[in-house]
């Protein structure tokens, strides 16, 4: 019952600014959980805490019931992968190489076997290449495998970033504003893709999603957590959250033109 990622009473301060205040949430296997809130509500800080870029001042994290002290370079080994706002792709590598880099923690061959051209290093590289191809195929972008990311439309680059994160075979995927900069059609495709992630045949993963795009969040999430000024103001299934007065006030209120100081 403790399965999945849990945040317990997380607090983060930057100088005098409270970025997160007593935030608790849980992502269980098979779930898609959304985090929404106005700009500056602490959504990205929340991700940075999970990734280990920011150390919380109070509270703790657990993964499958065990205490978690995240460090960025160990994240994939724990089964957690993250996409970045924008795409953060390696401009100098091809699409396929970008995705291979995402899975490279699984390649255990050191430099010496590689230098000597031992079969193990060869097998490693081929396995990595095949796996990367499979993921590109699954996301429908295999045709772009040899392209440089910079030459591709944004929607495709966004999928490459997603493929790179999935290549690490995560059990939990953190998506940071995946719909940012996408058109309506692309958002619909993305929604379908995200809904399918917990039910993938190979390597199913739970999703924690930070997103501005309300339609996407409402469409894909099993549960939604609403942040405002670093605090959880509401949490629950999409229908309940949509009706919650605190949410309408904090988040949706801003969209009908009330100026927020």
């Amino acid at each position: 019952m403790e399965d999945g990622l849990a945040l317990h009473h997380i607090g983060v301060r930057f100088g005098g600014l409270t970025a997160l205040d007593d935030v608790s949430l849980r992502v269980s296997p098979g779930e898609v959980v959304g985090v929404i809130g106005p700009n500056g509500a602490g959504k990205t800080t929340l991700f940075n805490v999970v990734c280990g870029f920011v150390a919380p001042h109070t509270g703790s994290l657990t993964l499958d019931g065990r205490p978690l002290r995240p460090r960025p370079h160990r994240l994939t080994r724990l089964g957690i992968a993250r996409t970045l706002q924008g795409t953060g792709l390696f401009a100098g590598l091809t699409v396929l190489e970008n995705v291979m880099a995402g899975a490279s923690h699984a390649a255990r061959t050191g430099l010496l076997p590689a230098l000597l051209g031992l079969p193990r290093s060869d097998r490693d590289e081929r396995r990595l290449r095949r796996h990367a191809h499979d993921v590109l195929d699954e996301l429908g972008i295999a045709a772009h495998a040899e392209a440089a990311p910079g030459t591709l439309p944004f929607a495709v680059r966004q999928r490459v970033a997603l493929a790179r994160a999935l290549a690490a075979r995560p059990r939990l995927l953190l998506l940071d504003e995946p719909a940012g900069g996408l058109g309506a059609e692309d958002v619909a495709g993305l929604a379908e893709l995200i809904r399918g992630l917990p039910r993938r045949a190979a390597d199913p993963c739970a999703v924690l999603l930070v997103e501005h795009h309300m339609d996407l969040v409402m469409a894909v999430c099993d549960r939604i957590v609403v942040l405002d000024f670093g605090r959880v103001v509401a949490a629950g299934p999409p229908e309940a959250v949509r009706e919650d007065p605190a949410v309408v006030d904090a988040y949706l209120g801003a969209t009908v033109g009330e100026a927020r100081a």
């Binding site: 990734c51 960025p72 370079h73 160990r74 994240l75 994939t76 080994r77 992968a81 993250r82 970045l84 953060g88 390696f90 401009a91 100098g92 590598l93 190489e97 291979m100 880099a101 995402g102 490279s104 923690h105 390649a107 061959t109 050191g110 430099l111 590689a114 230098l115 051209g117 290093s121 490693d124 590289e125 990595l128 790179r164 690490a168």
Partner: protein, 292 residues
């Protein structure tokens, strides 16, 4: 005409070594945005290790392997024990530290081995073979070409066809993102230093016997030539380093053949100055938009 052919082949052989040495500089530049001014001194140190091993065992090849291993280790040690501790926010800091390293290595080598020229062996004859009455390449020149070719191919293989090479490239392009993907970024940087320093040591082993012999300053002029080659090629471009190296080798061969060997240092510096003035990005630099 014979003379021209001889100078061309000699220049290419010398250029192959410059190319290898320039590659070492490019490797570190790409991995960590540092121009390793200590590369020459590090290569000399590795060559002295070879000298000691060869003197003790009587085998050139044991010494050769020892130099490569010493080069790899020295590169890793310089990164872990020195460069990692340097504040990289100002690009000048690692440069100054590298120059300090040059002084340190020269001083230590002078203390241990003395500041005289020691004879350096070659595994093959340096007497040019004659083909149809024309003096062309020596067996040693062929050895140089083969070795540099193998090293170049091995580097291409590592960086494009192995998982660890991919990690090294990823770490160089975007360290923060790579860390998120589980790449040990500082480990990759150390590996880059080791590889580069190993290649530098190899180039030193190849070039020192063709000059005056082993001396703490034996690589000084080679370093300047190879640095020029790397700048001609654009510092960021491995193919550029190879082309630059061969070009500088040819130029220096013609200069010393037609105008006199004393002019070599002058010619190198003139070329370096010209490239920096006219095309500071190097001949292989992509055209970039100018901000107005």
């Amino acid at each position: 005409m014979d003379r021209f052919l001889f100078l061309t082949l000699d220049g290419l052989s010398r250029g192959a070594v410059y190319a290898a040495f320039a590659l070492a500089l490019v490797l570190i530049w790409r991995a960590g945005r540092i121009v390793n001014f200590a590369q020459g001194a590090m290569a000399v140190a590795a060559a002295y290790v070879a000298y000691s091993v060869t003197a003790a065992t009587g085998s050139y090849w044991l010494g050769f392997v020892a130099a490569l291993v010493a080069g790899l280790l020295l590169g890793a040690v310089v990164d872990v024990a020195v460069m990692r501790l340097v504040d990289h926010r100002s690009p000048l800091n690692p440069v100054i530290v590298a120059l300090g390293l040059v002084l340190l290595i020269h001083a230590v080598l002078g203390m241990v081995y003395g500041n005289e020229y020691l004879p350096a062996q070659t595994p093959f004859s340096r007497t040019a073979l004659t083909v149809g009455g024309l003096a062309v390449l020596s067996p040693y020149d062929l050895f140089v070409f083969a070795t540099v070719g193998v090293v170049g191919a091995a580097l291409v293989w590592i960086f494009t066809r192995t998982a660890i090479g991919l990690r090294m490239r990823a770490a160089a392009f975007a360290p923060e993102v790579s860390r998120l993907l589980g790449v040990n970024v500082s480990g990759m940087l150390t590996l880059g230093w080791a590889l580069a320093s190993g290649v530098g040591a190899l180039a030193g082993m190849l070039v020192i016997p063709t000059e005056l012999g082993l001396h703490p300053h034996a690589m000084d002029l080679v370093f300047v030539s190879a640095f020029t080659a790397a700048v001609v090629g654009g510092l960021d471009s491995p193919p550029g380093a190879v082309v630059g190296g061969l070009g500088v080798g040819l130029l220096l061969s013609y200069v010393s053949g037609y105008a006199g060997g004393d002019l070599i240092p002058l010619a190198v510096l003139a070329l370096l100055l010209a490239v920096l003035l006219l095309r500071p990005g190097g001949l292989f630099a992509p055209v970039t938009a100018r901000r107005v």
